[in-house]
Amino acid sequence: MKIKNIIITFVSAIAILFSTSVVSLAKVVGDKIILGAAISLTGKYSSNGVHTQNGYNMAVDRINDMGGIKVGGKTYKFDIIYYDDESNPKRAAQLAERLISQDGVEFMLGPYSSGLTKAIAPVTEKYGVPMVEANGASRSLFTKGYKYLFAVLAPANLYLDVAIETAVELNGGKGVRIAQAFEQDAFSQDVRLGILDAAERTGSKIIIDDKLPKELNDMAATLAKVKAVKPDVLVVSGHTKGALTAIRQIAEMKVDVPMLAMTHCDAAKLSKQHGKNSQYALCASQWHKTLTYKDDFFKDGMTYAADFEKLFGYDPPYQSAESSAALLVFKDAFERANSFDQKKVRDALADTNMQTFYGNIKFAEGGQNVDKPMVLFQVMCDDAGKCENKVVAPLKWASAELIHPIPKWSER
């Protein structure tokens, strides 16, 4: 009897849950513009997923507090429906479908990572739902002819391009020997393609070209090879885990290389977590707080960083900044379109040409932002062991000079 009761309770509970979930929300309810987003709250991208969500939330609050969005003489406020995609593309595609067909969302924000964006883009494209994404940089996203996809960030193949060029320049214009290790995912593999292009252009040679597994927590094999062949540049990319693993093991194994170029140093909070061990690491970044871009909502990078830290208790990585920028782009597009018609909003998005605290935003045919270069920063520490990220390239924004080559471990 007891079991029967349990079953009846379960089944009725599920029935109720389902009946409530059928009630769909419209895209604009009252004075709210409801955006949808699938975010990695669990799984391997969860830390970056949270950076993304924090960026979205902060911008929503800021825009709402500062008067909201004016469309057709009426003021609207942003609201976001979130789902957890578990860092899984299959789940992300389902959730996009669900946001659109069940929740009635007509405008989407992107997920975290290129792989998940790749899974969602076909869905938003099919329904003609404009999506402004801030965290899918893979070049292949922009070659598929998507019309409703807009990325506020520069494509992934440009991430570490500058690092190779700098290395070649410092080598007197001669090609360098590159060792590289990339995670097996869409983004990192695209960074790799960028390096291959740069290597060919500069006559550099790739002497180690390793692939790292997705559940990345050991790259000792690659580093042992690096120790043996002594390349001029070591390039590592594998999201947050890749950056943390690389720094930890390079310090443990005392691997000496003249230049260490990586991605995701700020998202991994390298300078905080690994202190002096992370010193001299060169990192590609979409944004840095010291850049001098400005807008009306967040003023500039420094103000944004201070406000962000007050809210969330840490220095904003670029993933948060670009996510905030995505909402500024949406607001701007809604106001210029002066309508909630998806086609009109899409056209307005395509015509975007604005400056935000995060950088200039202007979309190319494929949807990528072509008006914002990447920056490189280097982790630099003072004698007390306090480390900071300082921009070293491009020179226009450099706040410190690149330290090259990296001193040997025996001399540190």
Partner: protein, 349 residues
């Protein structure tokens, strides 16, 4: 008999009408069909034959990659399609899309079946835990290997051809729903037909005592291999459809997704009751409903909720729902029960 016809008819009509009754749930319904197919096919090994396999995900993933590769490769150079930096954009015409998908599905069914035969020949000699661990390795290895093959996108993943523009927004969802529903019906009928022959009895004999079965002159190896090939055939089909439905294939997260799909198919069969025809169907349906509910209403705690569900299943329904029903209402399952004897046993307890 009459009752059965009414039941099947009702389910068939519901299946056909479902996407029109719940238009917003088409994707979930399609995935439900896929899940049921996976549970039914897992049950052939895990339930009827007593071989707990984690390797069926291999055939599912293979089917997915094969179907998409054929669909693209028939009309465009595959290498250029999957190349990350490819600046070319290829678009399938509707005719190309459907032709490619049909041929792709055929390949996605046949090749995994052949591979199941080859692999089965070498590892179906293992028994018990050894077999389970060995098949677990198959899925993991396949994920890592496929993540390194450039022509199918390697770590970049593989974007399957987008559904052609046919001026009807609902077309894509309906197409994939009916594909998966038809394959489900086909799978169910095929397995039902097989279960009504001697084949099922042989599988059961293998489960209950393989040595004895062999001693009776049954070539157990042959039956084990054929059983696995049948499973692989339908798993491959399910994978092919799922690839098109998701639209993006990633080696370890979508195709050879042993951590999720690979475990789910086992769970669903056990929840419904392994070793029964309807068990996996009921198990998969309930599991999917629970899962979707948890994922919506316990955001962030979904895996905890799922874990609790698994514990409840194991404690209260160790034999699955069908097993529980069978114990509760044995008459409905054609078992004759002596009421006096049963009462005597109950009072003894």
């Amino acid at each position: 008999m009459n009752k059965n016809i009414i039941l099947y008819g009702a389910i068939l009509i519901f299946g056909i009408a479902a996407p029109f009754i719940f238009p917003a749930f088409k994707v979930q319904l399609s995935i439900l069909c896929i899940l049921i197919i996976l549970a039914i096919t897992w049950n052939v090994q895990g339930g009827e034959m007593g071989y707990n396999t984690f390797g069926n995900i291999l055939f599912y993933g293979l089917g997915m990659y094969l179907c998409a590769s054929v669909q693209v490769g028939m009309f465009f150079p595959l290498g250029e399609w999957t190349e990350g930096g490819g600046e070319k954009t290829f678009v399938h015409t509707p005719a190309q899309f459907f032709q490619g998908f049909a041929v792709g599905l055929a390949v996605a069914a046949v090749v995994p079946a052949i591979i199941a035969g080859l692999i089965g020949y070498s590892i179906l000699g293992l028994r018990g835990h050894y077999f389970a661990i060995c098949t677990l390795g198959l899925g993991v290895a396949a994920g890592e290997i496929s993540g390194g093959i450039e022509i199918i996108g390697a770590g970049q993943g593989f974007t399957t051809p987008p559904f052609p523009n046919v001026d009807r927004l609902e077309a894509r969802g309906e197409f994939f729903y009916f594909c998966s529903f038809i394959v489900l019906v086909f799978t169910f009928l095929a397995v039902k037909a097989i279960y009504s022959t001697r084949f099922k009895l042989v599988l059961n004999a293998i489960r209950d005592n393989e040595d004895k079965a062999e001693a009776m002159g049954i070539q157990t190896m042959k039956y084990k291999i054929i059983g696995w090939m049948i499973s692989a055939f339908f798993c491959g089909l399910a994978g092919g459809i799922m690839g098109g439905l998701v639209g993006y294939i990633d080696s370890t997260d979508v195709a050879f997704d042993g951590r999720e799909m690979g475990v789910f198919m086992v769970l669903m069969a056990i929840l419904g009751g392994k070793g029964t025809l309807w068990g996996p169907v009921i198990g998969a349906t309930l599991f999917h409903i629970f899962k979707e509910g948890f994922w919506t209403f316990f955001l962030g705690w979904q895996y905890v909720a799922l874990g609790v569900l698994i514990v409840v299943i194991v404690i209260y329904f160790p034999e699955g729902i069908m097993g529980w029903l069978r114990e509760k209402y044995p008459e409905r399952f054609g078992e004759v029960v002596d009421e006096a004897d049963r009462k005597a046993q109950v009072t003894l307890k």
